[in-house]
Protein backbone atom coordinates (compact mmCIF):
# COMPACT_ATOMS: atom_id res chain seq x y z
CA UNK A 1 0.00 0.00 0.00
CA UNK A 2 2.78 2.41 0.80
CA UNK A 3 4.81 1.69 -2.28
CA UNK A 4 7.57 -0.21 -0.57
CA UNK A 5 7.53 -2.79 -3.34
CA UNK A 6 8.02 -2.18 -7.03
CA UNK A 7 5.36 -3.22 -9.54
CA UNK A 8 5.93 -6.74 -10.80
CA UNK A 9 8.17 -7.70 -7.92
CA UNK A 10 8.16 -11.46 -7.47
CA UNK A 11 7.64 -13.14 -4.11
CA UNK A 12 7.93 -16.72 -2.93
CA UNK A 13 6.07 -18.38 -0.10
CA UNK A 14 9.25 -19.78 1.36
CA UNK A 15 10.89 -16.39 1.11
CA UNK A 16 8.04 -14.62 2.86
CA UNK A 17 7.99 -17.32 5.51
CA UNK A 18 11.69 -16.99 6.18
CA UNK A 19 11.44 -13.19 6.26
CA UNK A 20 8.83 -13.32 9.01
CA UNK A 21 10.08 -16.41 10.77
CA UNK A 22 7.11 -18.62 9.97
CA UNK A 23 6.49 -21.60 7.74
CA UNK A 24 4.88 -21.59 4.32
CA UNK A 25 1.37 -22.01 5.70
CA UNK A 26 0.82 -18.55 7.19
CA UNK A 27 2.67 -17.01 4.26
CA UNK A 28 0.29 -18.74 1.90
CA UNK A 29 -2.76 -17.49 3.73
CA UNK A 30 -1.51 -13.93 3.74
CA UNK A 31 -0.71 -14.10 0.04
CA UNK A 32 -4.08 -15.56 -0.85
CA UNK A 33 -5.85 -12.92 1.13
CA UNK A 34 -3.92 -10.12 -0.49
CA UNK A 35 -4.48 -11.66 -3.89
CA UNK A 36 -8.22 -11.78 -3.18
CA UNK A 37 -8.10 -8.06 -2.51
CA UNK A 38 -6.19 -7.44 -5.72
CA UNK A 39 -3.06 -6.36 -3.89
CA UNK A 40 -1.03 -9.23 -5.30
CA UNK A 41 -1.11 -10.99 -8.61
CA UNK A 42 -1.18 -14.78 -8.85
CA UNK A 43 0.04 -16.19 -12.13
CA UNK A 44 -1.69 -19.22 -13.54
CA UNK A 45 1.05 -21.38 -12.11
CA UNK A 46 0.56 -19.89 -8.67
CA UNK A 47 3.55 -17.59 -8.75
CA UNK A 48 3.12 -14.46 -6.69
CA UNK A 49 4.05 -10.92 -7.62
CA UNK A 50 2.88 -7.36 -7.12
CA UNK A 51 0.61 -6.27 -9.95
CA UNK A 52 1.78 -4.33 -12.99
CA UNK A 53 -1.19 -2.16 -13.82
CA UNK A 54 -2.19 -1.21 -17.33
CA UNK A 55 -3.19 2.36 -18.04
CA UNK A 56 -6.82 1.31 -18.31
CA UNK A 57 -6.65 -0.29 -14.94
CA UNK A 58 -5.01 2.76 -13.40
CA UNK A 59 -7.72 5.00 -14.80
CA UNK A 60 -10.39 2.71 -13.48
CA UNK A 61 -8.87 2.61 -10.02
CA UNK A 62 -8.56 6.39 -10.06
CA UNK A 63 -12.24 6.63 -10.95
CA UNK A 64 -13.02 4.28 -8.09
CA UNK A 65 -11.01 6.38 -5.68
CA UNK A 66 -12.88 9.48 -6.81
CA UNK A 67 -16.25 7.79 -6.49
CA UNK A 68 -15.64 6.28 -3.07
CA UNK A 69 -13.60 9.00 -1.46
CA UNK A 70 -15.88 11.83 -2.51
CA UNK A 71 -18.71 9.95 -0.86
CA UNK A 72 -16.65 9.25 2.25
CA UNK A 73 -15.59 12.86 2.57
CA UNK A 74 -19.15 14.01 2.09
CA UNK A 75 -20.32 11.72 4.87
CA UNK A 76 -17.52 12.86 7.13
CA UNK A 77 -18.27 16.54 6.62
CA UNK A 78 -21.15 16.94 9.11
CA UNK A 79 -19.07 15.21 11.78
CA UNK A 80 -15.84 17.08 11.12
CA UNK A 81 -15.18 19.18 14.20
CA UNK A 82 -12.22 21.38 14.93
CA UNK A 83 -10.17 18.65 16.59
CA UNK A 84 -10.30 16.62 13.40
CA UNK A 85 -9.34 19.58 11.25
CA UNK A 86 -6.39 20.31 13.54
CA UNK A 87 -5.28 16.74 13.20
CA UNK A 88 -5.56 16.89 9.43
CA UNK A 89 -3.44 20.02 9.37
CA UNK A 90 -0.85 18.33 11.51
CA UNK A 91 -0.72 15.32 9.20
CA UNK A 92 -0.51 17.69 6.29
CA UNK A 93 2.70 19.14 7.70
CA UNK A 94 4.18 15.66 7.70
CA UNK A 95 3.10 15.25 4.09
CA UNK A 96 4.85 18.49 3.16
CA UNK A 97 7.95 17.36 5.03
CA UNK A 98 8.05 14.09 3.11
CA UNK A 99 7.72 15.99 -0.13
CA UNK A 100 10.75 18.15 0.64
CA UNK A 101 12.69 15.09 1.77
CA UNK A 102 11.84 13.31 -1.50
CA UNK A 103 10.68 10.36 0.61
CA UNK A 104 8.24 8.59 -1.70
CA UNK A 105 7.14 5.91 0.77
CA UNK A 106 6.79 8.44 3.58
CA UNK A 107 4.82 10.70 1.31
CA UNK A 108 2.40 7.98 0.28
CA UNK A 109 2.00 6.80 3.83
CA UNK A 110 1.27 10.22 5.30
CA UNK A 111 -0.92 11.18 2.36
CA UNK A 112 -3.06 8.10 2.87
CA UNK A 113 -3.13 8.76 6.59
CA UNK A 114 -4.56 12.20 5.82
CA UNK A 115 -7.33 10.65 3.79
CA UNK A 116 -8.00 7.82 6.21
CA UNK A 117 -8.24 10.19 9.16
CA UNK A 118 -10.92 12.17 7.37
CA UNK A 119 -12.83 9.14 6.14
CA UNK A 120 -12.88 7.46 9.53
CA UNK A 121 -15.31 10.18 10.55
CA UNK A 122 -17.73 9.01 7.86
CA UNK A 123 -18.72 6.04 10.06
CA UNK A 124 -18.77 3.87 6.95
CA UNK A 125 -16.43 0.94 7.62
CA UNK A 126 -17.36 -1.11 4.56
CA UNK A 127 -16.80 1.83 2.27
CA UNK A 128 -13.50 2.68 3.90
CA UNK A 129 -12.38 -0.94 3.65
CA UNK A 130 -13.04 -0.92 -0.08
CA UNK A 131 -11.22 2.36 -0.51
CA UNK A 132 -8.25 0.80 1.26
CA UNK A 133 -8.23 -2.19 -1.05
CA UNK A 134 -8.03 0.26 -3.94
CA UNK A 135 -5.07 1.94 -2.26
CA UNK A 136 -3.52 -1.47 -1.84
CA UNK A 137 -3.84 -2.17 -5.54
CA UNK A 138 -2.29 1.17 -6.43
CA UNK A 139 0.56 1.00 -3.92
CA UNK A 140 3.42 -0.28 -6.06
CA UNK A 141 2.34 1.82 -9.01
CA UNK A 142 2.08 4.99 -6.94
CA UNK A 143 5.59 4.49 -5.75
CA UNK A 144 6.78 4.15 -9.31
CA UNK A 145 5.07 7.44 -10.10
CA UNK A 146 6.30 9.53 -7.20
CA UNK A 147 9.75 8.13 -7.60
CA UNK A 148 9.77 9.45 -11.16
CA UNK A 149 8.52 12.91 -10.32
CA UNK A 150 11.29 15.46 -10.13
CA UNK A 151 9.24 18.51 -9.31
CA UNK A 152 7.15 17.81 -6.22
CA UNK A 153 4.64 20.39 -5.09
CA UNK A 154 3.20 20.71 -1.60
CA UNK A 155 -0.24 19.19 -1.15
CA UNK A 156 -2.31 22.00 -2.61
CA UNK A 157 -5.61 20.15 -2.71
CA UNK A 158 -5.24 19.12 0.89
CA UNK A 159 -5.50 22.76 1.84
CA UNK A 160 -8.63 23.07 -0.24
CA UNK A 161 -10.06 20.04 1.54
CA UNK A 162 -9.34 21.58 4.93
CA UNK A 163 -10.80 24.92 3.86
CA UNK A 164 -13.98 23.26 2.62
CA UNK A 165 -14.28 21.34 5.87
CA UNK A 166 -13.94 24.52 7.89
CA UNK A 167 -16.55 26.27 5.74
CA UNK A 168 -18.92 23.33 5.76
CA UNK A 169 -18.86 23.63 1.96
CA UNK A 170 -19.95 20.25 0.64
CA UNK A 171 -19.70 20.91 -3.12
CA UNK A 172 -16.29 22.44 -2.56
CA UNK A 173 -15.19 19.45 -0.51
CA UNK A 174 -16.34 17.00 -3.14
CA UNK A 175 -14.48 18.89 -5.84
CA UNK A 176 -11.33 19.18 -3.75
CA UNK A 177 -11.26 15.48 -2.90
CA UNK A 178 -11.94 14.49 -6.49
CA UNK A 179 -9.16 16.77 -7.70
CA UNK A 180 -6.70 15.55 -5.09
CA UNK A 181 -7.35 11.93 -5.92
CA UNK A 182 -7.34 12.38 -9.68
CA UNK A 183 -4.43 14.77 -10.00
CA UNK A 184 -1.58 12.48 -9.08
CA UNK A 185 -2.94 9.51 -10.95
CA UNK A 186 -3.47 11.49 -14.11
CA UNK A 187 0.27 11.98 -14.33
CA UNK A 188 0.70 8.29 -13.87
CA UNK A 189 -0.85 7.43 -17.21
CA UNK A 190 2.16 7.65 -19.47
Amino acid sequence: MHGEMAPGQALTLRGIGKEFGVSMTPAREAVRRLAAEGALFLSTSGRVSTPELTNDRIEELAALRALLEVELASRALPRAHIALIDRLQSINMTVAEMVTKRDAVGYIRSNLEFHRTLYLRAQAPAMLAIAETVWLQLGPTMRALYGRLRRTEPPHYHKLIIAALKAGDEPGLRLAVRSDVTQGLRLLVS
Copy 2:
Protein backbone atom coordinates in the same frame (compact mmCIF):
# COMPACT_ATOMS: atom_id res chain seq x y z
CA MET B 1 -23.82 -14.58 -3.00
CA HIS B 2 -27.05 -16.28 -4.03
CA GLY B 3 -28.47 -16.63 -0.57
CA GLU B 4 -28.00 -20.35 -0.26
CA MET B 5 -26.73 -19.94 3.25
CA ALA B 6 -28.52 -18.27 6.14
CA PRO B 7 -26.95 -15.33 7.99
CA GLY B 8 -24.83 -16.48 10.91
CA GLN B 9 -24.51 -20.03 9.62
CA ALA B 10 -21.43 -21.65 11.11
CA LEU B 11 -18.86 -23.50 9.03
CA THR B 12 -15.87 -25.65 9.92
CA LEU B 13 -12.74 -26.20 7.91
CA ARG B 14 -12.99 -29.95 8.28
CA GLY B 15 -16.64 -29.86 7.28
CA ILE B 16 -15.96 -27.81 4.16
CA GLY B 17 -13.08 -30.09 3.29
CA LYS B 18 -15.18 -33.20 3.63
CA GLU B 19 -18.00 -31.61 1.62
CA PHE B 20 -15.67 -30.97 -1.31
CA GLY B 21 -13.45 -33.99 -0.90
CA VAL B 22 -10.28 -32.10 0.02
CA SER B 23 -8.25 -31.63 3.16
CA MET B 24 -8.33 -28.68 5.49
CA THR B 25 -5.67 -26.78 3.60
CA PRO B 26 -7.66 -25.78 0.51
CA ALA B 27 -10.72 -25.19 2.69
CA ARG B 28 -8.71 -22.81 4.80
CA GLU B 29 -7.48 -20.87 1.83
CA ALA B 30 -10.97 -20.51 0.41
CA VAL B 31 -12.33 -19.39 3.75
CA ARG B 32 -9.57 -16.85 4.27
CA ARG B 33 -10.09 -15.44 0.84
CA LEU B 34 -13.84 -15.11 1.32
CA ALA B 35 -13.28 -13.58 4.72
CA ALA B 36 -10.91 -11.04 3.15
CA GLU B 37 -13.72 -10.08 0.79
CA GLY B 38 -16.17 -9.75 3.67
CA ALA B 39 -18.23 -12.71 2.51
CA LEU B 40 -17.49 -14.69 5.65
CA PHE B 41 -17.00 -13.64 9.22
CA LEU B 42 -14.06 -14.88 11.28
CA SER B 43 -14.57 -14.74 15.03
CA THR B 44 -11.62 -13.79 17.20
CA SER B 45 -11.02 -17.47 17.85
CA GLY B 46 -10.95 -18.21 14.12
CA ARG B 47 -14.43 -19.68 13.90
CA VAL B 48 -16.06 -19.19 10.54
CA SER B 49 -19.62 -18.14 9.81
CA THR B 50 -21.63 -16.14 7.33
CA PRO B 51 -22.03 -12.55 8.48
CA GLU B 52 -25.06 -11.25 10.34
CA LEU B 53 -25.35 -7.70 9.15
CA THR B 54 -26.52 -4.83 11.30
CA ASN B 55 -28.96 -2.33 9.86
CA ASP B 56 -26.21 0.25 9.59
CA ARG B 57 -24.10 -2.17 7.63
CA ILE B 58 -26.97 -3.05 5.32
CA GLU B 59 -27.63 0.61 4.63
CA GLU B 60 -23.97 1.18 3.92
CA LEU B 61 -23.77 -1.74 1.53
CA ALA B 62 -26.92 -0.54 -0.22
CA ALA B 63 -25.32 2.88 -0.63
CA LEU B 64 -22.24 1.20 -2.05
CA ARG B 65 -24.34 -0.77 -4.50
CA ALA B 66 -26.04 2.42 -5.62
CA LEU B 67 -22.76 4.27 -5.98
CA LEU B 68 -20.97 1.54 -7.89
CA GLU B 69 -23.78 0.17 -10.00
CA VAL B 70 -25.03 3.56 -11.14
CA GLU B 71 -21.53 4.26 -12.38
CA LEU B 72 -21.24 0.86 -14.03
CA ALA B 73 -24.58 1.25 -15.78
CA SER B 74 -23.64 4.70 -16.92
CA ARG B 75 -20.42 3.38 -18.42
CA ALA B 76 -22.23 0.52 -20.08
CA LEU B 77 -24.85 2.75 -21.66
CA PRO B 78 -22.88 3.95 -24.70
CA ARG B 79 -21.92 0.35 -25.48
CA ALA B 80 -25.36 -1.15 -24.95
CA HIS B 81 -26.50 -2.38 -28.35
CA ILE B 82 -29.68 -4.23 -29.20
CA ALA B 83 -28.20 -7.67 -28.67
CA LEU B 84 -27.43 -6.79 -25.07
CA ILE B 85 -30.90 -5.37 -24.48
CA ASP B 86 -32.44 -8.53 -25.92
CA ARG B 87 -30.36 -10.59 -23.58
CA LEU B 88 -31.38 -8.47 -20.60
CA GLN B 89 -35.02 -8.91 -21.50
CA SER B 90 -34.52 -12.63 -21.72
CA ILE B 91 -32.89 -12.75 -18.30
CA ASN B 92 -35.68 -10.61 -16.99
CA MET B 93 -38.20 -13.25 -17.98
CA THR B 94 -36.28 -15.72 -15.86
CA VAL B 95 -36.38 -13.28 -12.98
CA ALA B 96 -40.14 -12.98 -13.31
CA GLU B 97 -40.45 -16.74 -13.42
CA MET B 98 -38.48 -17.12 -10.23
CA VAL B 99 -40.70 -14.56 -8.57
CA THR B 100 -43.85 -16.50 -9.41
CA LYS B 101 -42.19 -19.72 -8.28
CA ARG B 102 -41.23 -18.11 -4.96
CA ASP B 103 -37.70 -19.37 -5.60
CA ALA B 104 -35.61 -17.00 -3.50
CA VAL B 105 -32.22 -18.37 -4.52
CA GLY B 106 -33.22 -18.50 -8.19
CA TYR B 107 -34.53 -14.97 -7.97
CA ILE B 108 -31.35 -13.60 -6.44
CA ARG B 109 -29.21 -15.49 -8.92
CA SER B 110 -31.08 -14.33 -12.02
CA ASN B 111 -31.45 -10.83 -10.68
CA LEU B 112 -27.71 -10.55 -10.18
CA GLU B 113 -27.14 -12.07 -13.60
CA PHE B 114 -29.26 -9.27 -15.04
CA HIS B 115 -27.08 -6.68 -13.38
CA ARG B 116 -23.83 -8.42 -14.18
CA THR B 117 -24.72 -8.77 -17.83
CA LEU B 118 -25.29 -5.06 -18.08
CA TYR B 119 -22.20 -4.09 -16.12
CA LEU B 120 -19.91 -6.35 -18.10
CA ARG B 121 -20.39 -3.91 -20.94
CA ALA B 122 -18.90 -1.14 -18.84
CA GLN B 123 -15.42 -2.57 -19.45
CA ALA B 124 -14.54 -1.85 -15.86
CA PRO B 125 -13.34 -5.11 -14.33
CA ALA B 126 -12.07 -3.66 -11.05
CA MET B 127 -15.33 -1.85 -10.44
CA LEU B 128 -17.37 -4.93 -11.28
CA ALA B 129 -15.23 -7.05 -8.99
CA ILE B 130 -15.89 -4.69 -6.12
CA ALA B 131 -19.60 -4.68 -6.85
CA GLU B 132 -19.55 -8.46 -6.72
CA THR B 133 -17.84 -8.47 -3.33
CA VAL B 134 -20.69 -6.28 -2.11
CA TRP B 135 -23.19 -8.78 -3.48
CA LEU B 136 -21.25 -11.49 -1.72
CA GLN B 137 -21.55 -9.69 1.59
CA LEU B 138 -25.27 -9.21 1.12
CA GLY B 139 -26.03 -12.74 -0.09
CA PRO B 140 -27.19 -14.42 3.11
CA THR B 141 -29.08 -11.33 4.22
CA MET B 142 -30.86 -10.94 0.87
CA ARG B 143 -32.07 -14.49 1.12
CA ALA B 144 -33.44 -13.79 4.56
CA LEU B 145 -35.28 -10.81 3.10
CA TYR B 146 -36.80 -12.41 0.05
CA GLY B 147 -37.71 -15.44 2.04
CA ARG B 148 -39.77 -13.23 4.33
CA LEU B 149 -41.54 -11.35 1.57
CA ARG B 150 -45.02 -12.69 0.90
CA ARG B 151 -46.05 -10.30 -1.82
CA THR B 152 -43.50 -10.40 -4.62
CA GLU B 153 -43.79 -8.05 -7.49
CA PRO B 154 -42.31 -8.50 -10.95
CA PRO B 155 -39.08 -6.59 -11.52
CA HIS B 156 -40.57 -3.18 -12.26
CA TYR B 157 -37.32 -1.24 -12.20
CA HIS B 158 -35.69 -3.68 -14.56
CA LYS B 159 -38.16 -2.57 -17.20
CA LEU B 160 -37.25 1.04 -16.50
CA ILE B 161 -33.57 0.14 -16.89
CA ILE B 162 -34.23 -1.50 -20.23
CA ALA B 163 -36.35 1.42 -21.40
CA ALA B 164 -33.63 3.90 -20.45
CA LEU B 165 -31.02 1.81 -22.26
CA LYS B 166 -33.16 1.77 -25.40
CA ALA B 167 -33.70 5.52 -25.23
CA GLY B 168 -30.08 6.27 -24.44
CA ASP B 169 -31.38 8.20 -21.44
CA GLU B 170 -28.50 8.42 -19.00
CA PRO B 171 -30.22 10.30 -16.15
CA GLY B 172 -33.15 7.94 -16.42
CA LEU B 173 -30.83 4.95 -16.34
CA ARG B 174 -29.01 6.21 -13.28
CA LEU B 175 -32.27 6.77 -11.46
CA ALA B 176 -33.68 3.39 -12.46
CA VAL B 177 -30.57 1.52 -11.32
CA ARG B 178 -30.41 3.43 -8.05
CA SER B 179 -34.08 2.71 -7.41
CA ASP B 180 -33.76 -0.96 -8.27
CA VAL B 181 -30.79 -1.42 -5.99
CA THR B 182 -32.19 0.59 -3.12
CA GLN B 183 -35.78 -0.63 -3.21
CA GLY B 184 -35.27 -4.19 -2.03
CA LEU B 185 -32.71 -3.32 0.57
CA ARG B 186 -34.86 -0.61 2.06
CA LEU B 187 -37.37 -3.27 3.04
CA LEU B 188 -34.58 -5.21 4.61
CA VAL B 189 -33.98 -2.69 7.35
CA SER B 190 -36.45 -3.84 9.94
